[in-house]
Symmetry: C3
Subunit: 345 residues, 3 copies
């Protein structure tokens, strides 16, 4: 059931160096690969493992080909080529179409052909689920939701009422889409009144949403995720935020309410982006950064203190609270030095 | 089915400028509003949108009334007035009382009149759910829990055994209330033994809890949330923490074990508050701050490095690790300058 | 149904000071304890409460025994001794073996003797659940999973297909184990292709996993948690990460992909550990730190700016962006001072 190197090379537009008749039937790491295994080298940190690999073939960049002791598939983008080949070698299990016993589907909900609904899933009134979709065990799809063709909602995903998810999306377990945004208004006594959250969430095509990520519904208009957005686990998207197409965010990052993030941005892990901001297209933000003002220029941004030996860190952190004072004292010394210099002349 | 401006003005104690007979039937943003729409202006960032609005009326502060091209409802607290009017214009769908097929209710659990229990909900032995409550699909209410009248537990909320939730609360999907606190004791070999978590969680009235937020049960006594507390998504409240009434926290923030946070505090997003601390009433903590010691004075606190262009940030971050050294060198220069000054005299 | 102090002292290897016949039947805090209650003193912050306690007995260290006004059990590790005694005094409710109505178990799944499966739980094809285990309401166990004897999966835990959990583990509500790692490959147009996540998750014995924590499956090989690992709530473990035995992590912390954390590490709350790193055994990392490079030496590490009064913090944060410049200016002054000194000579 494998695929020859010749076939992989042609299908995935790679240059083959080695025996085209060799059959590949699974993927493996450089270090663990054996006969029949396809490995890849994309992160230079693993280059040292290339020389000893026993893979049947390795997907790699041209610059690494000479050092490869086995057959190789040379690609201009080895990680992408590997991704495509791995998907071909390890296709997902086929769906078992139908509504399982123990799933609860409202009488007026519509479910497309070839869609699998697992036990414990609940699909609300008027909801529309496309064809060849997957609704996992215990997933809850609210009234009036729409889920596009070929999308997969894994176990225990929640869509609140009226949420729309595009085609070929993948939403992981525990994600909550469409809960109320955090809109509260304070009275003169410091008590809070809920501001009704009347918008919804609209998610484009080819979006992936990680486990336990939360995406709030808009206050008045919708929260929007563009096509091709990829969100890792435990991300929070506030009400009325807009993420441009093909923007990706790593785990623990958040976008506060009404902020617009551009297209093709790359947001690292644990990044906080404040509310009511605008982030340009093609912005890269390093892990841990706190973004408190709009970013109008494409570019790379960061901002976190690196961990350090604890006593040294504590000494430096204590100095941080004196930093403005230190700067002023430095200015005074500079002024005195300039004056002394002047008086010397 | 709308409401006249005259009625809104009287009910919500606003001064009306404009035609009292105009009928409002929905809310909209300043930019998108059209006939029949009520908009609001509270955040000055959106003031530039006022002049071009086509809303039927705008809720705003007195200072903005003259610039409003359409009817307006002048309020001393426009956001609060808007919240109340929006709730009137867009009431939640009425409950469908009863226990749905596919919900599992223990024989000795009691469920109040007018309460809706959705498919897949599980209500444990001896649990008590009040009147006019909502228990969403897949919500799990442990044995001996109490949920007050008019409270709503959205889909897939978990209450562990014995948790008590007050009246008019709203708990969002994926929230977990009453899981074990993180209590572990280390032996001489570095292995950990679980400390039994024997307390529970007690939540007051009018509390809102965000999606995928976790609130741990107490180790011996209870974890307590006062009346009117509002928690955003993905918050973590440690065992035996106490949050005073009307305190609010934005997403990703956490309070570690046994810390007492006062009343009416406002905690920004991604704030970490350490364990065994005391935070006074009316404390405001800006997003991203790490609070490692008690805060005894009301006031505003913050503490995070703002994101910066990556090369500049890296240069500065590298200097952070030398900060104590820089401060000492500055002191030496100052001392030398003082001595030089003295010798000059 | 209580236990005498004599019995507790012998069973838990403590020195008893007081009447061995006194009967203990519950635990309580020093401040709230009354007759029949066992309290403990481990955190010195609570020492001031010892003198006024009305506990029947207190577990404490030898140094505190003289100050104890009531009977005491002297231990070399009072918190550990307390944990063991509390577990003895407050054993968990016995299981009710069997599969509840409303749970869905695949025909070829196997469930061990004495195991309780609650309503709404879903157990997939070929899954193997051990003896005396607990599968909570709404928990979803994927196809081919293995759950060891005496393990407890609380309500609404998700195990994706093929995940293996050891014996005596405790997984809290909302945890998601085995979702896809965040593997995506970028093409020349900035679009992302999913990299198939083909590994699984393997969890050792005696592991505790907190509420809403997420542990991703490996890309090719497995993500691994060693025996005795304890994870708090809302933690994220990336694909192919390896946590050594008896390592613990507090809430909100994350380990990015392919990082290996050693044995017996103690990771505070809100710590971010980058990808492809190695953390040695016995490393302690303080709350909030961002670890961007490998840690090869056991020791204590930290790195966060402490919260401060907001105006002071803002002044200092503004200076942070000038820090490299300040350091260079200091160097110039030092150079000038050295030269002046030289010229004086």
């Amino acid at each position: 059931m494998g695929v020859t190197l010749a076939t992989l090379a042609v299908r995935h537009n790679c240059e083959l160096r080695g025996d085209p008749a060799v059959v590949i039937d699974h993927v493996a790491t450089l270090a663990a690969a054996g006969p029949g295994a396809l490995a890849f080298l994309a992160n230079p940190q693993y280059r040292s493992q290339l020389g000893a690999t026993r893979a049947a073939a390795v997907v790699l960049a041209g610059a690494d080909a000479d050092a490869c002791p086995v057959a190789c598939l040379v690609s201009t983008n080895p990680y992408l080529s590997y991704a495509e080949m791995a998907a071909e070698l390890h296709p997902p299990a086929p769906l078992r179409p139908g509504v399982a016993p123990g799933a609860w589907v409202a009488a007026d909900a519509r479910i497309g052909e070839g869609t699998q609904v697992d036990p414990g899933a609940v699909i609300g009134a008027g909801a529309l689920v496309g064809a060849r979709a997957y609704i996992g065990a215990g997933a809850v799809i609210g009234a009036g939701c729409a889920v596009g063709d070929d999308s997969r909602l894994m176990a225990r995903v929640t869509l609140y009422d009226g949420v729309r998810v595009g085609r070929r999306c993948l939403v992981h377990s525990g994600a909550v889409i469409g809960a109320d945004g955090f809109g509260i208004a304070r009275d003169e006594d410091g008590r809070w009144t809920k501001v009704p959250q009347l918008g919804s969430v609209v998610i484009g095509d080819d979006v992936e949403i990680g486990a336990n990520t939360t995406i709030d519904r808009g206050a008045i208009e919708d929260t929007v995720l563009g096509d091709g957005v990829k969100l890792d686990n435990q991300i929070q998207i506030g009400h009325n935020a807009v993420l441009g197409p093909h923007t990706v965010m790593a785990a623990f990052s958040g976008v506060a309410g009404s902020t617009r993030v551009g297209a093709r941005c790359i947001i690292g892990a644990d990044v906080g982006i404040g509310g009511h901001l605008t982030i340009a297209d093609d912005v890269v933000i390093g892990g841990g950064a706190h973004v408190a003002s709009s970013v109008h220029e494409r570019g790379v941004y960061g901002g976190v203190i690196p961990a350090d030996e604890v006593r040294r860190w504590r000494r430096n952190a204590a100095r941080f609270s004196q930093l403005d004072d230190l700067a002023r004292r430095l200015q005074r010394l500079e002024k005195a030095a300039r004056e002394a210099d002047g008086s010397d002349t």
